[in-house]
C-alpha cells in the first residue's frame, strides 16, 4: 500500500476539514444550522432592523447619552452602516454563547464511546487537539460569515449605496468576532476533554464562568491589586468592545488571543497526560 508518512500538520488540517464535514453533512449539524439561521433571521428582521432605524433618528443619541452617559455607546453612532452597528452589539454577546453550545462536544462523546482510540493510534494527540479546535473555528467562522452577509443584504435593501462601507465594516466585524470566539472555543476544547458528555461540558462552562466571575468580583472589591485578574476570563473585554468600531476594536484582540493560547496550552498538557 503506497502511503506517505503522516505529518502532524497535515493531519491537523485533515481533522479540521473532517470536523466541518461532520457538522455540515449530517442531520444534527443541518438541524443546528437551521436553528441558527432561524434565530438570526428573527434577530435581523426584527430587533436589528428596528433598532437600526431607531439609530438613525436624530434625537436618539441625546436620549442614550442621557440614559447611559455620553461615553457609553457614543461610538455606535459613528458606524457607517447602522445595521452593522446593531449586529455588532448582538453578535458580540451571542456568538460566544453559540461557541459554548457548538464546541461543547469536541471530544466528550468520542472519548466516552472509545472512538478517540481509533484516532490516537493513527495520528498525534497534538493534531487531534488543534485539528478539532481549528475545525470548530472554521464552522463558527462560516456561521459568522453567513450572518454578516445577511446583515449586509439587510442594509442594502435600505440603501444600495451602502455596499462598500457595509463590506468594509463586515470584514472588520468578522475578523473581530472570530478573535472573540477563539478563547470560548479553546476553553470548550479543554472542558470537553474532561467531560463525558456535551451537556456536562456546558454545565462545567456555566459553573466556570459563574464561579470565576464571582471570585473576581470579590477579589476586585478587596483590593485594586486584583483588578487586573478580570482579564483572565474569556469575554471580559466584551463590554468595552461594544463601544468600539472598525480597526479600534482590534485594541482588545491581544486579550482573547492570550486567553486562547493559555487554554490550548492547558488542553495540550491535559490530552498528552490523559488516558483516552
Amino acid at each position: 500500500m503506497t502511503q506517505n508518512a503522516p505529518s502532524t500538520f497535515n493531519n491537523m488540517l485533515l481533522i479540521a476539514g473532517f470536523e466541518c464535514r461532520k457538522f455540515l453533512f449530517n442531520l444534527r449539524g443541518i438541524i443546528a444550522l437551521i436553528a441558527f439561521a432561524l434565530v438570526w433571521g428573527m434577530l435581523l428582521l426584527y430587533p436589528i432592523q428596528g433598532a437600526s432605524t431607531l439609530l438613525m433618528q436624530p434625537n436618539i443619541k441625546d436620549l442614550i447619552d442621557g440614559l447611559l452617559g455620553n461615553q457609553a455607546l457614543n461610538v455606535l453612532f459613528d458606524w457607517p452602516v447602522a445595521e452593522m452597528a446593531i449586529f455588532w452589539c448582538f453578535a458580540l454577546y451571542l456568538f460566544p454563547m453559540f461557541s459554548i453550545l457548538i464546541a461543547a462536544d469536541q471530544f466528550s462523546s468520542d472519548k466516552t464511546r472509545g472512538t478517540l482510540r481509533f484516532y490516537t493510534i493513527r495520528t498525534s494527540k497534538d493534531s487531534l487537539l488543534f485539528g478539532r479546535f481549528l475545525g470548530q473555528i472554521l464552522i463558527q467562522g462560516l456561521l459568522i460569515l453567513l450572518t454578516i452577509l445577511a446583515t449586509i443584504a439587510l442594509a442594502l435593501t435600505r440603501d444600495i449605496g451602502l455596499l462598500l462601507p457595509a463590506l468594509t465594516s463586515g470584514a472588520l466585524v468578522g475578523v473581530n468576532l472570530v478573535i472573540v470566539i477563539l478563547p470560548f472555543t479553546a476553553v470548550m476544547t479543554l472542558l470537553s476533554l474532561y467531560a463525558n458528555t456535551a451537556r456536562q461540558a456546558m454545565v462545567l462552562a456555566t459553573i466556570l464562568w459563574t464561579v470565576v466571575s464571582i471570585a473576581l468580583l470579590i477579589l476586585g472589591n478587596q483590593s485594586s491589586l486584583f483588578e487586573g485578574l478580570q482579564w483572565i476570563l474569556p469575554g471580559a473585554q466584551l463590554s468595552n468592545m461594544v463601544n468600539t468600531n472598525g480597526l479600534n476594536s482590534f485594541v482588545y484582540a491581544p486579550i482573547p488571543l492570550l486567553q486562547t493560547a493559555f487554554a490550548l496550552f492547558l488542553g495540550r498538557v491535559y490530552i498528552q497526560r490523559s488516558q483516552l
Binding site: 500500500m1 503522516p6 472509545g114
Partner: protein, 302 residues
Amino acid sequence: MILIQCQGLSKHYGSKKALNNVNLTLESGAPIALVGPNGAGKTTLFSLLCGYLTPSAGTVRILGEAPNSPALLGQIAALPQDATLDPNLTIISQLSFFARLQGMDSKQANQEALRVLNLVDLAEVAQQKPPSLSHGMSKRVAIAQALIGSPKLVLLDEPTAGLDPANAKKIRELVRTLSPSTTFVISSHNLDELEKLCDQVLYLDKGELGQSISMRSSNSGSDYLTLTMESCDSEALIQAVGQIAGVVNITSKQAHVFVIQLDDTANRHYEFETALLTLFKQQHWQYKMLLKGRTLEETLFS
C-alpha cells in the same frame, strides 16, 4: 525481529495493581495469544501497548519505539475493547478518513476502506451508519479498521466475542491469512480458538505474567496424548490404558477427556496408538478424538 519489549511494566489504578512488573519480549511472526481470567490485566496491557495508557512504572518498546511515538503511527493498529465508531457518520467515511490519517490520498483511502470491509465480508454496509449494524457486524467493522494500511502489528482484544460461529471462523481464517505480513496479538477467553491460531501463549493472572508457552515446542516430541471418548466407563478405561506399555500416568479432569502421559521412548513407532485402538476394539469403546499433546486448557491449568 523484536516486536514488543516490556521491562518491569506496571500499571496501578490508585492502590489496585492492574499490572505488576511484567517482563516480556515478543518477536514478529505467528499470532500471539494473551489469556487470563477477567481482571487479569489483559486490556490494561493492550492499552499500554497502544499508548492509550501510560505505565506507572517500567518501559514499553514496540518496534524499538515508545508507544505514541510518531514513528509508530499507522504501524500498529488495534481493536480496542468496547470502542465504537461515530454513530452519526457512514462507515465508509470513517474508515476512509482513518486511511487518510495514515497518509493515503483520497482515492487510495476510499479503496483501502472498501478493501478492509471486503476482508470482513461487509462491503455492502459501507454506506450505512454504525447504529444500523448488529453487534457482530460492528465488531467486524472494528476489526476492518484495524487492518487499514496493513500494519505490522495488530492487537485484537476479544475479536470474536459476540460473533456467531460462522463469522468467528471467518475472522480466524482472516487472521491466519494475514499472519505472514502482520503479527497479531489476540486476547480471548476462547482457548480452543487461540489454540487453532497461535503458537505463543502468554498467561496473565492478577496483573502478573504467569506463563509464556510455545504451543509448538511444548507439543513437539510430546510425551502427552489427549483422548476424548464418546462414552465409556472412565474407571475401567483409566485402569486398562494405565496397563499399556509406556504409560506413565493417565488423568481425567473433564468427563470423557483423558490426558495420557507416556515415557519418552514409548511412542516412536505408534506402538501406543496401536495398542490403544486394539483395546477400544476389544472393549467396544468409541473414541471421538485423539490429540497429540495437550490442549491449551490442559497445558495452562494442569
